[in-house]
Symmetry: C2
Subunit: 493 residues, 2 copies
């Protein structure tokens, strides 16, 4: 294997999406696979973790601005606590990692490594809520969770342990809980669209695919370039089912004891998977400036006789940008040539490259190159601390536009079973069709082509519904019974 | 039990320190004990977690300013990986939680829930380091760890699961690793002294109490008001022992393969225990303004006829402070009287209380009350956004001065075995004595009075050494053999 092959991406995004994705994750330095004996686990390297930290910061600030407090609950949940969820969820049988021994002793009761924390958070919330004055109560936890699913590992998309946040809230009324559910969905949408440059579509899960025990599960879905949907984040209106099971009640203004309505909502590092998959290309990672660890790399290009002036100009430029709050990297390595550096920073996803040679120095200019499409722009050195923000906006807009084009071109309509199968088979993407609401009609499609109903538009969100559904009195595309709503069929991650 | 008793602190810090501590943690809303079947675990409530988040932010910013990157490693460590530490550490027998089952399957190899991550981080660092250009490599992880020790639970001080950070670095030379070790110790000292208002003393652990495998373990120690020492944080120079065991080598400038020198350093939520224990009193929690979730509480005091003007003045004041970046809470609850509010905010540790009544409104003033000592100061309303910073500094200085007085008054000298025992027995605190370096001499003291050698001053840190040691040619206070250095004996947490 040559040096260039070892460093560069060799797989094709279009033809070998899975292998390409794994190669980008590894070669851009985002993650490694876990050690032997621990398939399904990954090591998140500093460049990968920096992306998660920034996302965490964006979301956490939005949460805190809207009344959420963070807390930390034990990593382990006694088996008997998990069992209480059986009161809520029939056939609940968690695939979890079990701790059976502490030191040299066998434990009296097995402890589950948290797969999600409802069953330990709810009992404490019920201790903390006494009166209507304690409501709404909003608690969020940033932590790792473990789900022992025996599937092939795909870093950030499918791992046995993953990082996420789970928010849990209690409210006096169902309306309060509904507002909360939608507020968090809005915030997830914001982060996808404004930070990750990924447009999403919002709606709810079909009843048979709701979070167990929930009244309503809402979702934001993102369409990947390979035509598959990613469930970006979910926000659940849990009604009173969890509150009843865990005795979460409050004394109302009239001193009557009432049951709370609760919500929960979660966002995981799967969002990083969507980020990598959406924007990156055969040269490697592509990141929007909003989240890139380095927003701009300055590469000086010199000959022996121009080295001093070029380096001084480049250093000065990097300093200016840094004091403007820009995340800038000056790559002044002696032992590497500019071409090598260009490739390396492209692989790593830096959104903007500034090339500085003797001509730029003489003319008081900067040659700026956009990572997504290689477009080259000449900037005035003196205006750079202003202009760079426009450049960032332009790069962001290019990424967003490409993703939005993919989404808008890949929502199609169908009115019959074969049309659903044919359209997904040919194009991937979403197919919206009238649906009776019966899971069997999903199963029939799933069995044929492994696509499922990933989303049902909200009532009143007319432009997302199938036109025939809006007109009323139409038939389910699969079984021909009366249609109740519109289903979005898609293959999914 | 009356309402006041249920809300207020009933135990005495001086006479019932342990019970008092537990009561403050609970009633100030910092933490609850874990569920039944999970003794040793706590639930960190939002007010407690907010303290940890702020500390994390302070330390993380210092780390990032000095070249540290965060990463995330798996929660589990295969038993065989932990076993490799046996090459380094004789008699290594970790008291950990063991995962034996994933879902319904028994695992082929048991997985330890991370008690510390050296054994999984080092092998990856060895993959990431190829040449001298990759050094120094600095990786930090914020995470929870589990140690299955069967001791009585004391929130933040002793829990089976705790939150911490562990930093791991690799360097070309031993000097580089030594600088790193001391840089992190400096940062820990900064955070204790400048953020937590707790003076610490620094030094190293005696050889028999080093981190297993380390060349040198350095520590910052804080003296609690009950005369016991808390190990505030440790920073280890690991020499080449871990690098050799995990094959962490680099190609030097001359192309020769050399073994790295490594360090590790950790800071846990035990620091929160020290914070609570140091400053709080029989009225409840006391926090320095640097870390308090609310730095100032505004309490309006009105009669029916003055309500509107008082409330307006108070609201206006709170807004001004908030736009100045002050963390301010306006307590305008109708259903509680001012006395109740005073007690509640004192219990919760808010450093500064602003009382606003009709007189303050008429005179354009503010009555400010310092939480640590109840001192009352009149401020000019128009200057408050400037003056509040001085007020914060004053409150901080009071807390620091009290802790420093406790420390400086409680370092005593001894030259004989009985003097050590008698002094610690009578006063607690630190007793510094000439020491031969033999663990047996510690054991003799430990057996008698449960005090140990918590710290040995660095060479050259003359003012910390016993005068006789500086003069040279003196005898161990315990056995009478030639003394090598000074030992600080103390009881410890
Ligand atoms: Zn149907
Ligand atoms: Zn001795």
């Amino acid at each position: 294997m040559t040096d260039a092959q070892e460093l560069g991406i060799t797989e094709s995004k279009e033809y070998n999406t899975g292998e390409w994705y794994a190669e980008v994750v590894k070669k851009a330095g985002l993650a490694n696979y876990g050690p032997e004996g621990m398939s399904g686990f990954i090591v998140t390297r500093p460049r990968g973790y920096a992306l998660w930290e920034r996302l965490q910061g964006e979301l956490d600030a939005r949460f805190k601005d809207t009344g959420v407090q963070n807390a930390y609950f034990p990593l382990f949940i006694p088996e008997s606590y998990l069992e209480r969820e059986k009161d809520i969820v029939e056939g609940f049988d968690p695939e979890v990692a079990w701790v059976t021994h502490g030191g040299h002793e066998e434990l009296e009761e097995r402890l589950a490594v948290r797969p999600t924390s409802e069953s330990i958070i709810a009992p404490y919330m019920s201790q903390w809520v006494r009166s209507h004055r304690d409501l709404p109560l909003r608690v969020n936890q940033w932590a790792s969770v473990v789900r022992w699913e025996a599937t092939e590992t795909k870093p950030f998309f499918r791992t046995k342990e993953f990082l996420w946040q789970e928010g849990h809230t209690a409210h006096a009324t169902s309306e309060g809980a509904w507002e909360e559910t939608m507020l968090r969905l809005d915030q997830y949408e914001d982060v996808y669209e404004d930070v990750l440059a990924i447009p999403v579509i919002r709606g709810q899960k079909p009843d048979h695919d709701k979070f167990p025990g929930a009244d309503t599960t809402t979702t934001v879905e993102a369409l990947m370039p390979d035509g598959k949907s990613v469930q970006g984040a979910t926000s659940h209106h849990l009604g009173t089912s969890f509150a009843e099971a865990f005795d979460l009640t409050y004394a109302d203004t009239d001193e009557e004891e009432r049951v709370c309505n609760t919500t929960s909502w979660g966002f995981s590092w799967r969002s990083l998977g969507a980020l990598i998959m959406t924007h990156s290309d055969d040269q490697g990672l592509v990141l929007p400036p909003t989240i890139a660890p380095e927003q701009v790399v300055v590469v000086p290009i010199w000959q022996e006789d121009t080295k001093d002036e070029v380096l001084e100009y480049a250093e000065d430029l990097a300093e200016d940008l840094e004091s403007e709050g820009v995340r800038v990297e000056l790559d002044a390595r002696d032992e590497r040539n500019p071409g090598f550096k260009f490739n390396e920073w492209e692989l790593r996803g830096v959104p903007l490259r500034f090339e500085i040679g003797p001509n730029e120095v003489d003319d008081g200019e900067i040659t700026a190159v956009h990572r997504p499409d290689g477009e080259s722009v000449t900037l005035d050195r003196d205006d750079v601390t202003d202009e760079i923000h426009d450049q960032f906006d332009e790069v962001f807009a290019k990424l967003y536009a490409a993703a939005e084009e993919n989404l808008s071109e890949n929502v199609r309509e169908a009115e019959g079973r074969n049309e659903i199968l044919g359209t997904i088979g040919q194009h991937g993407g979403y197919v919206k069709a009238p649906w009776c609401g019966d899971e069997d009609c999903e199963t029939e499609i799933k069995d044929q082509i492994a696509a499922e109903i990933v989303m049902v538009p909200f009532e009143g969100d007319d432009e997302k519904h199938h036109p025939a559904v809006l007109e009323g009195d139409c038939d389910c595309a699969v079984c021909g019974e009366a249609a109740e709503t519109t289903a979005y069929f898609a293959k999914s991650y």
